[in-house]
Amino acid sequence: MSRIRDNYENSRCLKIKKWIDGEVDLLASGVEIEAPEEAKEAALPESDLPNPAWQPGMRRPKAAKRRRRNRDGRDIRYFRRIYQLMSVFLCLAIIFILLWTVSYLPAFGNAGNPDNNEVSARYIESGLQETGAVNIVTGMILDYRAFDTFGESCVLFIASCCVLVLLRIDAADGDARARKRLREADDRVFEPKNDVILQRCACVMVPLIMVFGIYIILNGHLSPGGGFSGGAVLGSGLILYLNAFGFKETERFFTEKVYRRVTLSALTFYCLAKSYSFFTGANHLHSGIPLGTPGAILSSGLILPLNICVGLVVACTMYAFYTLFRKGGM
């Protein structure tokens, strides 16, 4: 960026001038992955093509000639210029509208703000007695608003399911195509395995990361953190372990079956436990869950098991994302 260019042809100023004139597309030239020529042709909209059974390899001389004539024509160039100007205008308009909206918001930290109402006062005043959690944030998200957190865990689970649907390669049927795709997807064959530096570092780091993650999850109701943070740390540790030692080592304890069982049982336990506590709470029944003394590790009722559930779901999801991206399966 700081390089000094002495020739005017390559200068940024000329490029911007050309871009405004609609002669070149900066984005098209800057993209690193160039699609092959046939794929580019196929990507162009072909609504006027009468033949529905068109294959990418076939030649279409007439349509190509017409498109070339249109590309040279002035109307396309005018359209592109208007298009680019409109995109800049749209960006500026959105920035202006958002800043305008922000200017109408009340001042930060003002005592008379609408968010400073009886709900937060109740949380702060009687949160410790009602939830038993010293960490007020965890008390809020896993007791008062536990259903939101359940929805978030489900969102994570659904996201990993979507990645599973998109990236999973099913080799169970054993036909040659699936095996070929599996071999193509597994790009670990070409990279250095058993890297000594990485393995030694992982030997030191992974236990520390794991213990730290477990600490964050178990102390979620006492100190900052909770299920999501601890689960993310655990998942990162698992990924580091996998990178250092390969799939063979992690598959000794973490397979797809383990993933399915852990995630499903954690989500089911969360759902049942919170349904029970919401049912009893809404009907003014005594739930029978002891809150314990605030500050002890075994306290605050359901928050500790719920934290463990959320942490397990998050850690499994992170690990599953990585393995699915890596080789299309667990």
Binding site: E32, P224, G225, F228, A232
Partner: protein
Amino acid sequence: MRFFEMILLLSLIVCAVSVGLTKDLLTSIVIFMSYSLIMCVIWVLLQSPDLAITEAAVGAGVTSILFFVTLKKIRAIRREGRHEQDKG
């Protein structure tokens, strides 16, 4: 402390702009990682260490690794020799 916060916020803006302006995808992901790290320090300064832990683990760790793996899959990480050949 005020000065330190200003530096952090400024570098946040610089990172955010330069992610969009770099042409090399690998470089932009590394800048994105540093954005997440700066954001993590800012969360600590804003007295929410739980968010800082999450940001460091998810933003700087897992997301960037997934980006790297994706770049590798679509073969956008070019080797050094071939890169120079393309230039020359």
